[in-house]
Symmetry: C2
């Protein structure tokens, strides 16, 4: 029987802190068939969307995004945590459970009008993805698809992204936290 | 005229601190031809090496490693900074200019006997790469090729890795710091 995306994902209790069930994609990426299936499903979903570049969210989004960009024959643009990108950047703050965090994008990484595929391993509250979309839009480009391997539907991040007018693809979902 | 790998790389002075010329691969990865050329050169060099898995060093090694693993039809394994991997890990410390840092690998990420391609964007002193190689070897696997986009030959990291018995591929070099 063909394995589903979910079958490759390992759940680790109490990471990063007690009470959290962490959905670990390293077992998916570490498996040749798992990585291939993930990339194929995302590439298939954006075939008719005339994507110009792939953007990925640090750090697990880099693994997936590098593979997807290469398969599509496109360049890859990293959206990183504060202080990691060496050139001139624009930044967006977003809320965490306690406090805020910041994502950055090189201010010359995208051209106005470019059509962007945004990828990450997981969508939870959607805060990081929303920050990424805002960064792309501030450079005059447009996220035409946001693809995630895992959705945590209880946290409603998908709604947050869709309300920004960005179509969302998720490859699987895990109910509960 | 065909562009060389070096032509895609941007140099940013005084990052992360004054006096450093930072070699920025985001302009290479962001260009479709640049990313493709990097992946092709690495894949070509390991064609006859019977690689089982690709391992990449956090975080720029994830972008390149994801693409290379996908092109080779293999799984990808992340080697991460301390505290980032959710499962049980092994760890290796290595020296920085001031103090030490730690790299980690899931203790079940590789099988004994597996042949590993290690990738990162840049080799400087070789500290991070050496830690990665030690982690792979502690699981009974073997790094049969270590590929880097950029070599900083003045820092002699290539010698460090080659003295561990690991063949090194670099796609370009920048003299001076």
């Amino acid at each position: 029987m063909t394995k589903d995306i979910r079958d490759y994902i390992r759940t680790i209790p109490d990471f990063p802190h007690e009470g959290i069930l962490f959905r670990d994609v390293t077992t998916l990426f570490g498996d040749a068939q798992g990585l291939r299936l993930s990339v194929d499903l995302i590439v298939e979903a954006c075939r008719d969307k005339a994507i110009d570049k792939v953007a990925g969210l640090e750090a697990r989004g880099f693994i997936l995004g590098g593979a997807v960009a290469h398969q599509l024959g496109l360049g890859f643009v990293p959206i990183r945590k504060a202080g990691k990108l060496p050139g001139a950047t624009i930044s967006e703050h977003y809320a965490l459970e306690y406090g805020t965090a910041t994502m950055e994008l090189h201010d010359d990484a995208l051209q106005a009008g470019e059509r962007i595929l945004l990828v990450d391993d997981l969508i939870a509250t959607g805060g990081t993805a929303a920050a990424g979309i805002k960064l792309v839009e501030r450079l005059g480009a447009q996220v035409v698809q946001a693809s995630f391997i895992i959705d945590l539907p209880d946290l409603k991040g998908r709604d947050v992204v869709e309300k920004m007018g960005v179509p969302v693809q998720v490859l699987c979902a895990f109910e509960g936290l």
